[in-house]
Structure formats: C-alpha cells, structure tokens
Symmetry: C2
Subunit: 342 residues, 2 copies
C-alpha cells in the first residue's frame, strides 16, 4: 500500500491567523479552539469552514492474546458489542445520536463472523482473530497490507459519499495489550510505562499483562513500523492506521479517539509524516499509557474526561468542539466590522 498525502499549503497560515486575530475577542482568548480552527482552515483551504456528513469508523477485531486472560471479559463480548453497535444500544451510539454523527461498524477480524450477519455490518475480516502476540507474530505482512488497504478504502468511500470529517475508534477484547506492545516497541519504552488496566483489570492480571509484553518485546527487533504492526497486531488497529492515511490522502480531517486509536495514529505518522496535519486528538483517556503517548506526539487532546471506553466514544464527543471552532471562524464579527481600530 502507498498513499499520496499532501502537506496543506502552509503559506496560508499567516492569513488564517490574521483572520482569527481580527475577531472581536482578546488575542488568544479562545485558547485551543483557535488552534483547532487554524488547523481546520489549513486543511480545508476555504474561507468558510464546514463539517459535512461526519462519520465514525468503528473497527472491531479479536486478539489471540485474549486467551491469556489479560482482559476483564472474554472475546464472546466482542460479538455482543458489535451487535449492540448495530442495534444502536452502546454508549457510542447514544453519543453519536446526541451530536448527530454517522457511524459505520467494520468487522476487521472477530474470532468468528457475526451470525446472522447484522444489516449494516461491513466485513473486512483479515482472519479469525490475530495470533497470540505473547508467543508469535500476531499478523502476517500480507494481513498488514490488506488491513491498511481496507481501512483506507472505508475512509475514502465515506469521503466520496460527502464526508469531510472522519473519526476512528475501535473495539476488541485484548487490544490494549496489542496497543501497549506497539507503543513500547515503536518508542523503545519499557512496557510497564505503556501498559494500563484496560477495561479495569486487577493488579494480578496487570502483572501478567506486563510480563507477557516484556517477553514479547524480545521479538521487537525491527524499527520498521510495518514489521511492528505485523508482530503485535491487530486487525482493527492496522485498519485504523489505514483509515487515517486514507483520510489524509483524501484531504479530510480525522478525529483520533483514545489510547488505541492514538497508537494507530502514531504508526500512520511514522509511515507518512504529512498525515499529522489531518489528525485531531479527541481526548486523553484514563488508560495509563495515553498521556505519555500524546506527549511523545506533542499532541494536545481536546477533552480530558477520565474516559476509558474506546468505541470511538471520545472522538464523537469532540465533534461539537470542531463545529464550534468552525462556527466562530466563519461567523464572528471582526473589530473592523464594528468600526473599532486596534
């Protein structure tokens, strides 16, 4: 897979900043929303910012490492949650309805296909769960390539349908283990700094999770992001990386959910540094590694609500802030509109 990602025209930034400075407020008084509006304007290169058909791509996959008992619940919950997403019953559905955001659910490789296949479920199954990263490579190079391509394809499909803002989120029992391994290997950090309690595991399971990841790190020889993605997986994480790259190639903003989505984002950035211009970081989760990861990316998230759910829930909650940023950029009066000279 390869992408052609354009760096936004940075020469327009001074003009964008001058416009924000001209509005009737003290300089900088809108804080982070000013930076957000500037980023949106840089990406959209339009005098009027817009958000059309905002869509969450929610990727679900299973992980071989779940068989080690590193999670609060077993992989049967993945299937139940996918059904709940499609029936509109989960937290992310409630949030998406409340902010008027679309969502699509993708089976990136659950242990078994959801049967009967629910209406609306997109199947891009790279396998029946990944291999157990505690003992062997979670994915093959081919699976990584497929997942990058499929994630990208879903993003670009929605852009063709008229979406100019996407978000990525995930669900997968065991996926904080995979994400922690990816983070530790890519940033060459001790796994203990990257591992947290996921959905809320005990001290004992946390110790097991750490020990398994310490052992797995011995296999993290390569610095190639694609090799690391294959080594630790998983299908939904790599599809998120693909979706982020696809969104960036299509020139639209992509909102990154919590810890696991941010791991997908740092891999997208390593593969294509220009993709960074298109990323908006929705929230800092309560998962231990997330603050550190955001720090490494020099990313400042919009929300900090101590959430640790995944599902894209934080990304959905950030949408009103993007709308607010567009609204002030588009519609606020300037000092000269009011006849004030500064």
């Amino acid at each position: 897979m390869s992408w052609t990602i354009k760096r936004p025209d940075l020469k327009t930034l001074p003009e964008i900043q001058a416009r924000i400075a001209s509005l009737i407020k003290p300089p900088g008084a809108l804080g982070q929303l000013e930076e957000l509006a500037a980023q949106m304007a840089l990406v959209q290169q339009s005098p009027s910012l817009s958000i059309t058909r905002p869509t969450l791509l929610l990727f679900a996959g299973d992980h071989g490492i779940a068989e080690e008992g590193v999670s609060l619940v077993g992989p049967e919950v993945s299937t139940l949650m996918v059904r709940a997403f499609l029936n509109g019953q989960a937290a992310v559905n409630c949030f998406a309805r409340s902010v008027d955001m679309r969502m699509e659910v993708i089976d990136s490789g659950l242990l078994a296909p959801v049967h009967p296949r629910p209406e609306g479920l997109i199947e891009r199954r790279a396998g029946a769960g990944t291999a157990n990263l505690a003992h062997e490579a979670a994915m093959s190079a081919q699976q990584v390539d497929d997942c990058l391509g499929w994630g990208s394809e879903r993003a670009q499909h929605h852009v063709r349908q008229g979406a100019n803002l996407l978000a990525v989120g995930e669900m997968g029992i065991g996926n904080t283990s995979a994400a922690s391994a990816l983070m530790a290997a890519l940033l060459q950090l001790p796994p203990k700094d990257c591992v947290g309690r996921g959905s809320g595991i005990s001290e004992e399971r946390l110790a097991l999770k750490q020990a398994l990841l310490e052992k797995a790190m011995l296999r993290a020889g390569s610095e190639d992001p694609l090799d690391l993605l294959a080594e630790f997986g998983g299908f939904e994480i790599v599809q998120m990386t693909g979706a982020i790259l696809g969104a960036a190639e299509a020139g639209v903003l992509v909102v990154i959910d919590g810890f696991i989505a941010t791991v997908a984002a740092i891999f997208a950035e390593r593969l294509h540094p220009e993709a960074r211009y298109y990323m908006v970081f929705a929230h800092q989760s309560a998962e231990q590694g997330h603050a550190l990861l955001l720090q490494h990316m020099e990313a400042r998230p919009l929300l900090t609500l101590d959430m640790r759910l995944g599902e894209g829930s934080g990304a959905v909650l950030a949408l009103p802030l993007l709308r607010a940023a567009a609204a002030f950029y588009n519609d606020m009066a300037s000092f000269s509109d009011l006849g004030i000279e500064l």
Copy 2:
C-alpha cells in the same frame, strides 16, 4: 432576598448509581460523564433525563475600577459587545447557534443605557456602573439585594417558559478585578493568588491591579458574603449569584462559565449551601485564579481549553456533554438487556 432551595433526594443516589453500573461498559469507563449523569438524575429525579430550552443568561455590567486602567480596553467596549451579542456577532453567539442554545442578554448596569435600546435587551440596571472598588464600596446593600432578586427573577422566568437547564455568563470591563477581590476576601487568600491577566494585560497593568486589590483588601473586614459583594461588586456578578440561586430554587441545573461566574457561584454556595447540587462547572479558564478557586470548591470542570473570554462561552460549549450524559443514561442497553449475567 431569600430562597427556599431543596436538597435533592439523596436517598435515590444508590439506585441512580446502580443503573449506571448496569449499562454495557466497564465500570466507570465513562469517567466524568458518569458523575454528570448521576448529578442530573439526582436533580431531575426522573427515570428519563431531559434538557429543554437550555438558556444562557449573559449579564453585562460596568465597573468603576476600570477608570484605573486595569483592563486591556475601556468601558466603551462593554456597549459595543452588548450590541454584538444582540446582533449575533460574538463568539458566544456562534457557539450558542452551533449547539442550539438560547441566550438572553441583561444590562445589569452598564455606564450608560444602550441607546437606541436594542430589541431583546433586558434592562435590570442597578446603576451606571459600580463605584470604584479601589477606593470605596462598589455597591450599596440595596443594590446587592436588587441584583440578587433580578438575577433570580430572570432565571425563574426562563424556567416558567420551559427551560430546565440554565447557564450563567458575563461581560464587563474590569470585572476580573472585582472577581479577584471577592475571591481573595471570601477565601482569605492573598490577592496575588487570585489575580490574573484578564483579557491579556501587560506585566505593568497586572502589578497595578494587584496593588489596587491589596489596598482594597484592607476594607474586607466582614465575613458576611453580602457585605463582601457590596464592597467589591459588581452588578453582573451579583445578578449571576441571584440567577444561580433562582435556578436552584426552581430545581434546575445551572451551568457555571469561567472564573467570574465561578466567583458568583461560590457566593451562591455560601449563601445557600444546597445550591451546590444544581451547579455544573463548565470549564477551567486560563485565568490564573480559576484553578485555585475550583480547587477550593472541590469542583471539577468538564472542559479545559485554555479559554479566557467570558460571555458564557465555556458554559455553552459544555452543553453537548450534558446532552451526551443524558443520552447514555437514558438509552444505553444494560447487560441484562443483552442477556449477560455479571
């Protein structure tokens, strides 16, 4: 003025918490939104949470201390901003439109009435700006009483119109000085810990502001909140305190904007501790004293966006989070809905 504020029925809290715990998510995974939903449920005492006709009350007033040059701009800007609010041109208007929130603008006592009086402006003028708190009491006891009553009346008017969620915000050149003085006097803190750069003043003006407040503190003999409100003012701050108490008496939630609104809130709490149950803290502003004030109130705001605008802008931005909290509380499936036993 007196209010009859009911403490919500705390005996229902275990039931509310059990409901939240029954939903299909790991325990606590929605972080602060779980606390918010519990607070909403406690106040609304209904199995289905609702937000109807959410309305921002935006109080504007002038301050005698502005003549000392403690602000970035002069009081003529108050009038211009009030016009901008009524013409829909300010940041808060853009935000309110983007989240579908109503707003009302109240002249609590600008230097001069806005002429010609714009349609929609509510006049509850307690005077032509407060007296200069650097030298004398900013308000009389009668003005304090009037402002509390008028603020309360505006809140209760909107509740009668069908609003079950209000927010308070302010605009007034010089009002961070008044708010800092109130905070320092009430909490018996050194003014330097309570003073910040407001709209972005220079080092020099900041030193002047601090010196004036140090001197004014010598007059802060009383511990009576009503005496302190009179001593330091201002009209819009006291009207916010009244609006908060009026909302609490009417049994509806009231969203508190930034630093100055939080000062109004702590006075409301001192006057009627039960009012606290109805308060939602929208955001932590970049204004220096705000973090400390929230800490003293043991209040955790929903947003931290480095904003320092006032106008109720932060309160408006928090509304989608309240809607999201209501949405998950009302509509998420429970584990037993999915046939899962825990």
